[in-house]
């Protein structure tokens, strides 16, 4: 069974409490239509499992198939440098059909980012490397397409609709709670 490598750490973009019962990790691509379809579902789950679950997003841009996927990933990292990763993540997915270089700059402006810094970071090879490292961790973790999800470090192979995902999350929560009472 494929496992998340490396495990979730402070290097990751995380929403929610790292001590939560469940950590859901998504390897995604900002230009992938399936990731776009999964976005509102994941958003709803994050809202509904507020106290119980943390969510992590890692980049897995399929750059040959999706010409703007890498740029979008780098743009989100550039936004992260100004503390706005999740805002950028949301805006890109919400406007996925308009994705392009110009659009990424417009999104950065709409988030009131310091544009000089943003444009610098957007071209910074270090940001590109950050995205590549996440892609590489995805390969080692057995990502076989996007989106790929991991629940508490174990690859989730079922479909990404709300019911299937939350069923698996509920199972992980009760498993975790049971092992905690035993200990």
């Amino acid at each position: 069974m494929a496992k998340l490598k490396p495990p979730v750490s402070e290097q990751d973009h995380m929403k929610g409490d790292p001590r939560a019962h469940v950590i859901l990790v998504e390897y995604g691509d900002f230009q992938c239509p399936h990731c776009g379809a999964a976005y509102p579902i994941v958003k709803q789950i994050v809202k509904d499992y507020k106290e119980k679950m943390a969510f992590v997003f890692r980049h897995f841009p399929l750059a040959e198939a999706h010409p703007f996927a890498q740029a979008a990933a780098v743009a989100s990292e550039a936004a992260a440098n100004q503390g706005k990763f999740w805002q950028m993540h949301a805006l890109i997915f919400e406007n996925q059909h308009l994705l392009g270089l110009e659009m990424l700059l417009q999104l950065a402006e709409s988030l009131k980012l310091d544009m000089k810094t943003f444009e610098h970071d957007f071209r910074d090879p270090k940001m590109f490397k950050k995205v590549e490292d996440q892609f590489e961790s995805g390969i080692m973790s057995g990502v076989n397409g996007t989106p790929s999800f991991y629940i508490n470090g174990i690859k989730y192979d079922d479909s990404y609709d709300y019911d299937s995902l939350t069923q698996a999350i509920d199972k992980a929560i009760s498993k975790n709670a049971a092992s905690k009472t035993k200990a």
């Binding site: 399929l62 040959e64 198939a65 590489e136 390969i139 080692m140 057995g142 076989n144 397409g145």
Partner: protein
């Protein structure tokens, strides 16, 4: 399927409509053989497209990848172009599935190759193999682990 530690049998198949390619041309390189059921699988980020994104990771290990299915050479040509694939696809077309059979990964009922992976070392010895359920894309973690193992034993 052929076992680990056996020599990978050589074969010669069409790589493009007017070019044939032999496995033996890659002597001295590690080789990933990926047998798959068919071109044009409908999913986003299908197995071949996924490997296409990973070519420079394979290159780091001095490895080339060859895709093999029973699709014809013109079919492969169109598929490669549509998905912008930058590696060789071989047509195991006539006699149909002969190479897949040679490697023990042919599904007689469906008339197509199984979804199977082999990693060969520079001497052409099979060092790792994997048969995936046909509907499940096995990803590349096993391939990279195998390449890592080969390079660490040198």
């Amino acid at each position: 399927m052929l076992d680990v530690n056996t020599a990978a049998p050589d074969f010669r198949l069409n790589a493009t409509p007017d070019q044939k390619f032999s496995l033996s041309e890659l002597k001295g390189k590690n080789v990933i053989l990926t047998f798959y059921p068919a071109d044009w699988s409908p999913v986003c980020g299908d197995q071949m497209s996924l490997y296409n994104e990973m070519l420079h990771y394979f290159n780091k290990y001095n490895a080339d990848i060859l895709g093999i299915s029973v699709d014809g050479k013109w079919c492969h040509a169109a598929f490669r172009e549509a998905r912008k694939l930058h590696f060789t696809l071989l047509a195991d077309f006539e006699p149909k599935g002969a190479v897949s059979k040679l490697y023990g990964v042919y599904d007689e009922k469906k008339g197509q190759s199984e979804r199977a992976l082999f990693v060969l070392d520079a001497e052409g010895i099979i060092r790792w193999n994997y048969l995936s359920p046909v509907g499940i894309n096995p990803g590349a973690d096993g391939i990279l682990d195998a390449l890592e193992m080969i390079s660490s034993k040198k």
